[in-house]
């Protein structure tokens, strides 16, 4: 039965829609500013600030970023590669871990749970990590150095574990077993099928982590052709700022034009663009996956 609308409902709905529309537009506003600034001449930004429509239209920002197109494209390639490989591998490992950890008949459940949980509280710190990666694992200048550290993220494992526990009833395991299914069959045919929202959520987290990662490049990559996109662009901005700053203190000649403001904005557009397209596809799982998974246990 439909609840009868009283006469205030349409009014309320109109007001609500208006409000939501205004809020949505307000969210678009900064993005539009960035977009407009990325097409504005740098000098004009310095002189008269940001405007919603470019005062002096110019492509110099994009030109600077794409001064060496092969490098930007290479960085794009690296980021896409690490994101895809890292997410796929990470999802596989974390769903496996999550599944095993929630099985009550797993003997070392508590030991492993504690081991994973422990690392969310304690870390060795930056220097031991760096020494481990460079001296013992010898991962400097390899893609492994970029992918490896994200593969087993404790928080995501816990999220996965809780999700599987709530999404797959325990009786299902028993009945599957009676029907003759082995552990791996249960994992691939039942658990994976039922935890799609959780997998989508964790997958998105992972993908975002890999897409936004720059710290890995900063620490372990010396070879410029292996920079991730984020770091590559971040480094351009930093180099400009630093050279400008250092010029004051050391007298090192800059000798080049640096359209900083417009370049920064152009970069923001270039970097955020692709990942924006990922959201619509996983968004419908997102609310469910996150709310269920966020209940700690």
């Amino acid at each position: 039965m439909r609840i009868r609308d009283d006469k205030y409902t349409p009014l309320f709905q109109a007001a609500a829609y208006l409000f939501i529309t205004a809020a949505a537009l307000a969210c678009l506003f900064p993005f539009l500013l960035i977009l407009s600034a990325s097409f504005t001449q740098n000098e004009s930004i310095i002189r008269s600030g940001y405007h919603l429509l470019p005062l002096d239209f110019s492509l110099e920002g994009y030109k600077t970023v794409f001064r060496f197109p092969e490098q930007v494209l290479k960085a794009y390639g690296v980021t896409i590669f690490t994101t895809v490989t890292g997410t796929a591998l990470g999802l596989f490992l974390m769903t496996m871990a999550g599944y095993v950890l929630q099985r009550k008949d797993f003997k070392y459940r508590n030991v492993f749970s504690f081991y994973i949980y422990f690392t969310t509280l304690f870390g060795g710190g930056l220097v031991p990590w760096y020494i481990m990666m460079t001296k013992y694992l010898q991962l400097t200048d390899t893609y492994t150095a970029l992918i490896f550290p994200g593969l087993m993220t404790p928080f995501l494992i816990i999220l996965m574990k809780t999700f599987i526990r709530s999404a797959v009833p325990e009786e299902l395991f028993e009945s599957a077993k009676i029907d003759g299914a082995g552990d791996f069959t249960i994992y691939s045919r039942i658990v994976l099928q039922l935890s799609m929202p959780g997998i989508a959520t964790v997958g998105l987290f992972l993908a975002l982590h890999y897409w936004n990662d720059w710290f890995g490049s900063s620490l372990f990559i010396n070879d410029q052709s292996k920079y991730q996109l984020q770091f590559y662009l971040y480094n351009i901005v930093n180099a400009m700022q630093f050279i400008a700053q250092m010029g004051a203190g050391t007298g090192v000649s800059l000798g080049q034009d640096m359209p900083t403001e417009s370049t920064k904005m152009a970069m923001a557009i270039i970097v955020t663009g692709p990942i924006l397209f990922l959201y619509p596809f996983v968004q419908r799982y997102f609310v469910k996956g996150l709310t269920v998974g966020a209940v700690k246990g």
Binding site: N42, E43, I46, R47, R67, F68, L121, F122, G123, G124, G125, L126, V127, P128, Y130, I131, T134, K135, W214, S218, L219, N222, Q224, F231, Y234, N235, N238, A239, F242, I243, A244, Q245, M246, G247, A248, G249, T250, G251, V252, S253, L254, G255, Q256, D257, T260, E261
Partner: protein, 529 residues
């Protein structure tokens, strides 16, 4: 059960606290190792080697040297590296790999490189990369015994007083650059506007203020002077450099030391001099020389000048001034920039200290001798030097009437002038300059006439004992001193009093006391009067 749970919680939180503390100190542990006996073995070898190059050098085993530089690698680096390796393999049976830290987080990376024990054979050093403090902590190998043996030519090439000047605790840890430059400040102003409105040439605070007044009156849309969100570096430092006779570079923690009386360090913050400076800034603010939102200003000084937003910079160095001139020449040929160096008013100029540019051999290097021999080649061998500074002649650059000329433009040329950031191995005998650099040379030669040595930069501050106070003080400075410095507070005297109070609470006395003590020790050791 409940009790057990509680206990567990206590243990956990205690452990958490410990881990948090451990995290804080994690970064500095390894660098604290005392200077070992790296050079002791070589001491027994005779320090002859005055004959040919590297007479005492053992080159039987082939090595790859790891060379670490700041910044980003130029596009054509692999080509240059291959060329250099061809030469180095023949001369020294060694190859070299040029690594770059990138400008992002380079100081953290520096710390990691030097503390992780990774193989690094040569690394760039400068006062601004904390050469002094790394050397003090034993991150580098002492070169005193190594130099005459592995790099006799280099040993003789660098003047004796420079070797003396870079010594930390009596030992040489870096090979200084021998090219002499000045990074002193000076007024940069729009000569075309000055002439148009018949304003005085800025040579002192008074004439500069008159110039600013004139700009404000005649060009109401223009900012008379460029300012940034850091009023200490953009206003206070040049003000002090021009009027307070300080030693060397900007001094931290409100310390004041006069060049004429280096033995007496005093507290500049709170002194009548400081009050006068703040009142001047207040007056400038009231006159509208800089905008009210100055503390949020993110544009660089040069950007504001070259875009025509501002009419002058209160303090910039000759090289950067020249860059602005070149930039304006192409975008606004009708404008004209002039420069007046502060040293002309002060009566003397100090060239940059030898510590400012150099290369050190880290503790972790196993090929110290070969590294030094290779570095000698970079500096003294014309072929190595030109190749690493300017690229391949004919392909990257040509020489015209003795001037450097780039082939193509910045986008098509993969190796521009000094693209490797090799400022440290510039050799004045081989250096090539752009035609546009003549301006700077002219200023430098003017300053040469009145030069005096920089006595400050050899000083290595050790802030381990007051690290916490230092951090607190930085916070207080930003919160209470910056607005004062930018003239934003209506009552300067009360504002200064509040700031000093807060600074005292943050531990100003301890910081200044320690600093003064260390300075006094330095002055005594160096015999400066």
């Amino acid at each position: 059960m409940a009790q057990k749970k509680k206990l567990g919680f206590t243990v956990l939180s205690a452990a958490l606290a410990v881990s948090a503390l451990a995290g804080c100190s994690g970064g500095t542990d390894n660098a604290g190792k005392p200077a070992g006996t790296g050079g002791a073995k070589e001491a027994s070898a005779p320090a002859s080697g005055s004959g040919g190059t590297g007479s005492g050098l053992d080159t039987s085993k082939k090595v790859e040297l790891q060379f670490y530089m700041l910044g980003d690698a130029p596009k054509d680096l692999p080509v240059i590296q291959a060329e250099i390796n061809k030469l180095a393999e023949k001369d020294l049976n060694a190859t070299v790999k040029f690594n770059y830290t990138s400008w992002t987080d380079w100081d953290q990376k520096y710390k990691l490189l030097l503390s992780s024990g990774q193989q690094v054979d040569l690394i760039f050093t400068a006062d601004w990369t904390q050469y002094q403090s790394y050397a003090k902590k034993g991150a580098f190998q002492p070169l005193d015994e190594l130099l005459p043996k592995a790099a006799p030519k280099l040993n003789g090439f660098v003047p004796k007083d420079m070797w003396e000047a870079v010594k930390i605790d009596g030992k040489i840890y870096t090979v200084p650059a021998t090219y002499k430059e000045y990074v002193t400040n000076g007024f940069v102003y729009r000569e075309d506007l000055r002439a148009k409105y018949n304003l005085p040439k800025p040579t002192s605070i008074e004439t500069y203020e008159a110039y600013l007044d004139g700009i404000k009156k005649n060009e109401p849309d223009m900012l008379p002077l460029a300012s940034t969100s850091n009023p200490v570096s953009s206003l206070s430092d040049p003000f002090r450099e021009l009027t307070r006779d300080p030693v060397g570079g900007p001094l931290p923690y409100g310390i004041g030391i006069k060049y004429s009386q280096p033995g007496e360090a005093y507290s500049y913050w709170g002194s009548p001099e400081h009050l006068e400076e703040l009142q001047t800034m207040k007056r400038w603010m009231d006159k509208g020389f800089f905008p009210k939102n100055v503390l949020n200003n993110k544009d660089t000084l040069t950007d504001q000048l070259t875009s025509g937003k501002a009419a002058s910079i209160f303090g910039d160095n000759p090289t950067r001034f020249n860059d602005s001139v070149i930039k304006i020449a192409s975008t606004h040929p009708d404008w004209k920039l002039e420069y007046y160096p502060f040293p002309l008013s002060r009566g003397f100029a100090t060239p940059v200290h030898p510590i400012h540019n150099g290369f050190a051999i880290p503790k972790s290097s196993k090929n110290a001798e070969r590294a030094l021999a290779f570095y000698e080649k970079l500096v003294t061998d014309k072929q190595y030097n030109l190749l690493t500074q300017y690229g391949i002649e004919g392909k990257n650059y040509t020489v015209e009437n003795g001037y450097y000329k780039m082939v193509g433009d910045k986008n098509s040329n993969g190796f521009g002038r000094e693209a490797m950031n090799g400022w440290a191995w510039r050799n004045p005998e081989y250096m090539l300059f752009d035609k546009g650099y003549d301006n700077v040379k002219k200023i430098f030669s003017e300053l040469d006439k009145i030069q005096k040595p920089d006595i400050f930069t050899g000083f290595a501050e050790d802030y381990t004992s007051y690290q916490a106070e230092k951090a607190a003080l930085e916070q207080v400075t930003k919160q209470y001193l910056y607005p004062l410095q930018a003239g934003l507070l209506p009552d300067v005297e009360t504002g200064l009093k509040t700031f000093l109070e807060k600074a005292k609470q943050a531990g100003l006395d301890k910081v200044q006391g320690e600093y003064k003590k260390q300075w006094a020790q330095y002055v005594k050791d160096k015999g400066i009067k």
